[in-house]
Symmetry: C2
Subunit: 294 residues, 2 copies
């Protein structure tokens, strides 16, 4: 491969570590060579592949839908109500409908909703440099997967178009679904019972369950991703761990704490420092943050 495969990345040590890693594990003559079926990369989503401030897109969707259903709420009320209020909101807005109906609702919302600060559709709030990284890995024979705390069904309504990932490689938190024979044939009803909250130590468990192989690349941005990066780092192969650090208040946001769940970054940044993981300094390492306007 020739030419700059990561044009949205500045020529820093960060970019160099990524390009050098991809070259080494795909070079049959390198001691770091990894056979193609074992080239697995896992990514957190919110704050790692797209903007999660000032609130998760999925939460904005849920608040809008609650209002439509005649049960308006607000971010302030949710903060005051804690996890119980959040679960009530998810039950109201994500359950009791079929998977097909939910998919249509999510797609409709994404087509009209705009990010409050950047006034762009949420799918355009992805990070251009990370899109380039996904492409580089894909061209290098990797299978890229998402392991996010967000809802699987919500993500899958847009991730195929935006990231080019097939639905089976997009894994998040999930509720139970119930199979039933409806008027139009069999259908799956989304239930209020949450089965997996895909964060923290659950991420390696989900990776084992959904992939069944140890990744060699992992990227995250908060302590909720630490276990996933640790699990990856323990592979017998050479690995690459990436921590997206939000340092860019001008072009995006500067913060060290997840906006809703409150995960910090102390542990993951300490681990990165101890273990020489690659910290992506958004302000310094990226020449562009979001994709250019079409």
């Amino acid at each position: 491969m020739t030419g700059d495969q990561l044009p949205g990345w500045r020529e820093t040590a960060t970019k160099n570590s990524i390009v050098e890693f991809a070259a080494a594990v795909t070079d049959r003559d390198s001691p770091d060579f990894v056979p193609e079926p074992d080239r697995i990369a896992v990514f957190d989503n919110d704050g790692t592949l797209w903007t999660e401030q000032p609130l998760y897109a999925q939460l904005a969707f849920a608040i809008d839908r609650a209002a439509e259903l005649g049960h308006p709420t607000s971010l302030e009320k949710l903060h005051a109500g804690g996890m119980a209020a959040l679960i009530e909101l998810v039950t109201l807005t994500h359950a009791g409908i079929t998977t097909d109906e939910f998919d249509a609702l999510s797609r409709n919302w994404l087509a009209s909703a705009r990010h409050p600060r950047f006034a762009r559709p949420y799918p355009q709030m992805v990070y251009q440099p990370m899109l380039e990284l996904l492409s580089l890995l894909d061209r290098s024979g990797f299978s890229c997967w998402i392991f996010s705390g967000g809802g699987t069904d919500f993500m899958r309504s847009w991730t195929a178009d935006v990231y080019g990932l097939p639905p089976h490689r997009v894994i998040g938190s999930v509720g139970e679904t119930e199979f039933r024979s409806g008027a139009g044939g069999p259908e799956l009803i989304k239930s209020a019972a949450i089965q997996v909250i895909n964060d923290g130590p659950q991420k390696p468990s989900s990776i084992h369950r959904h992939i069944g192989q140890r990744p060699i690349v992992a990227a995250g941005n908060t302590d909720g991703d630490l276990a996933m990066l640790q699990w990856t780092a323990a592979s017998p192969y050479r690995t690459l761990e990436l921590v997206v650090h939000h340092t860019d208040a001008e072009r995006e946001y500067a913060y060290d704490r997840d906006p809703i769940l409150g995960s910090g970054t102390d542990q993951i940044l300490a681990a990165a420092s101890d273990r020489k993981w690659t910290v992506i300094d958004m302000a310094a390492d990226w020449s562009v943050v979001h994709p250019p306007h079409a």
Copy 2:
């Protein structure tokens, strides 16, 4: 493609329905054409891809391992003890060890254990005609997946070698796993808590969760597979539903009831008759059952 792609199948209407279906959905000029990313096929495992009589291989493994652990049991005791005894056995033999340790135990057992009637290693108890079908579908651009009631980790210890399926496409029942930092680094401990029993109406839910797309081919052999076939049949594309009917007492077994869980075949055979699904009559349709001896 030329030549007989299904040499283990006799020249019957069953074989013809499979060959004709595969040709139609891959022919760009056919009204039945299906784009490659939507060519998803799902298979039950026990009794559909390999022999499940006189007892599931995984149960034979568990009984052998219980004896090794100083807690011998028998099929008779398990039948008498019902589901409670079965769960106790699974807890004893499948929990409290790391996923890596379990994988090694399973591989060791498979290398030495023999089927009680055929005296062959269990991985050789697969159905040769179904191996040919998996290959035909793979060459036709399908992604083939397994959705079985068996344990995911047990299956994955041999399905890559035998069926050529990557681990992420082999989905069964699963217990929870717990992430912890062990002496040798991070590890996943298999817990006794069963999270999903992947049978009956759970199969479409698991398909939604693990694939996120509707299959167009489904194969099963008991009423525990009915929901999976119904879910597949409701695809907007042309679909193929296959029911393996065990009619061959001489070369395999003749039965209409699952050996352990007791699922029958009344409902799935009735649905097949109503909906013109393809019933595979093992004695009539297959010229060979298990692979030839090496």
